[in-house]
Assembly symmetry: C2
Homo-oligomer: 346 residues x 2
């Protein structure tokens, strides 16, 4: 009999927490016991997991006694306090927030990209930002084959990245066609920021708050996390992150330069076709290319519109789409847990 | 008394034609007589211009007798046949289709960028593609001040660029929230192409049909037209054009490299602040940046999110938004006509 694990899900009532539980069940994760944790407000409520009803417990330090794997997705503030408490009690905390991602002591992992970093963990492993995961999943096989010397990305990010309230707001605003820019807006771009703008029939070039250099935190996450995950601290990476009126599925227009000369589009396609976790959708004669509405609910990172730059022989353009709640969050976290087991780390 | 002109509007019932008439009235264009032309199907219908009712005439070669300025926006096939007929009869044809844009004999003009090309006309002047106009309007003042050596753009284009049917389809699909990807789609990405995809809650990385090199015609228009308008045949330009569920207002994430060293963000802002037709909206402390929903109905090209690249000292990122039916089409055509008068060319 294979070993079974005690798993805690922190933030079980949230958009990502719900998807984490779905993935655990769907992928038949070897669970001996599950603990569904959330804030005091949600504690005591009943919730269904894998067809059975569970009562949500309050996420306290003591709740992690006996836990092997703790999946965190309840905001950075909760992770900052409780992930170390879980680790102290012998659990491996897999954290989906930005709290520890750039901590040099904490591995930041996409299992297809840098699985060897897992073994260096000291109790906490960080799950990268959604928009970073899908990009590095597509870029790593290209880098391995041809080298990589430049990355410029513009994103088209779904509202579900901002949680259930943002989805609800898009839904309400979508129904209020006649009101145009006069629809009520309370959630996007950033709930806690001063101003809110409509997302229906609009795009908002702000995700997360601004940093001093004029880039947003979301953009800096893509830049810094990409370098860390790919082990390329000197790689030039630039990002412009934009919210679009899509429910789920982030899309990315990515320009890259490779180091090798004379690489063809067919060469790049071949590499991606054989890459783990990637699905090539690139048949322009049949109008085949990835789109977020068709990526929703799917595990893969979809890549298409691959073409060689017309001015630079080593420049390529890619269009990368994935379900931001799955590969961009919940699925990647579960895949980290699976890799920990496969590698014999836990 | 200032001279008055006989003006023909070809395609008076279309999305852009309607906006052309609005602009002629709003800007008090010196019209002596107006002729509203359309296909045989629409001929005989009544239409209002500037508070008066007019009967639409069929657009035939003879309809251009006595016309000084003929504004074309009824599709490339109509322009190809009738713009030369109008020119032959002494009119200046200002054509909003792609029929003549890359013809070396035909000036392709954004009045703020290359007004001096107008004098070279031989009866036909082309109005550039919507997504090109707003980009070159923002890039020309930067080029003049600092030089320009590289352009990479990803677009977020509104459905109104595909006409009234596309707006209607987005409206219907927006109301059918529960259907998700199963909504009916008949118009986008390209009405005459084989497959159609939903645009509500989706983004589609195809505008116009594909060319052999893997870029779409829309992308090639941006690439080739930018070089022609800016008189920079060797400028590296790359484009990825994407349709988003926005009614009106194209947005563009643009990466550029300038030739001069040590240019600061403040330098770029100052140049754009003083540029004709540009409105700088760039105050991140107050979440000030351009968005399509607020650009709708406005004449200016809005620029914001200006920041220096973190890896390349001469690299800058810009976010450019304009109403694609106004500066991107109808308004630019009328501004061409105004410039012809101002320069004494007609």
């Amino acid at each position: 009999m294979t070993k079974q694990y005690t798993v805690a899900v922190v933030g079980a009532t949230g958009a990502v927490g719900t998807k984490m539980m779905e993935q655990l069940a769907k992928r038949k994760f070897p669970i001996g016991k599950i603990k569904l944790l959330a804030s005091k407000k949600s504690a005591g409520k009943d919730i269904t997991f894998n067809g059975q009803s569970y009562t949500i417990e309050e996420a306290t330090p003591e709740a992690f006694e006996g836990v092997d794997i703790a999946l965190f997705s309840a905001g950075g503030a909760v992770s900052k306090v409780l992930a170390p408490e879980a680790a102290r009690r012998g659990a491996v905390a897999i954290d989906n927030t930005s709290a520890f991602r750039m901590d040099p002591e904490v591995p930041l992992v996409v299992p297809e990209v840098n699985p060897s970093d897992l073994a260096k963990h000291k109790g906490i492993i960080a799950n990268p930002n959604c928009s970073t995961i899908q990009m590095v999943a597509a870029l790593e096989p290209i880098k391995k084959a041809f080298g990589l010397s430049n990355v410029i990305v513009s994103t088209y990010q779904a509202v579900s990245g901002s949680g259930i309230n943002a989805i609800e707001e898009l839904k309400i605003q979508s129904g209020e066609w006649e009101k145009g820019k006069d629809v009520e807006a309370n959630v996007l771009p950033v709930k806690s920021d001063k101003k809110h703008y409509p997302i229906a029939r609009n795009v908002i070039p702000q995700i997360d708050v601004f940093t001093e250099n004029g880039f947003t935190y979301e953009e800096m996450k893509m830049i810094n996390e990409t370098k860390k995950i790919m082990h390329m601290p000197e790689l030039p990476v630039a990002a412009t992150c934009v919210r679009v009126p899509v429910v789920s599925g982030h899309s990315e227009s990515v320009y890259i330069e490779v180091e090798k000369d004379n690489v063809s589009v067919e060469d790049v396609k071949k590499v991606l076709e054989n890459a783990s976790g990637i699905k090539l959708v690139d048949d322009i004669t049949a109008q085949g290319y990835p789109m977020p509405i068709y990526a929703e609910g799917e595990d893969e990172v979809f890549v298409g519109r691959i073409r060689k730059d017309l001015a630079k022989d080593n420049g390529f353009h890619l269009w990368i789409v994935a379900d931001n709640l799955l590969k961009g969050a919940a699925l990647n976290s579960i895949q980290i847990a699976e890799a920990l087991i496969d590698e014999g780390i836990i």
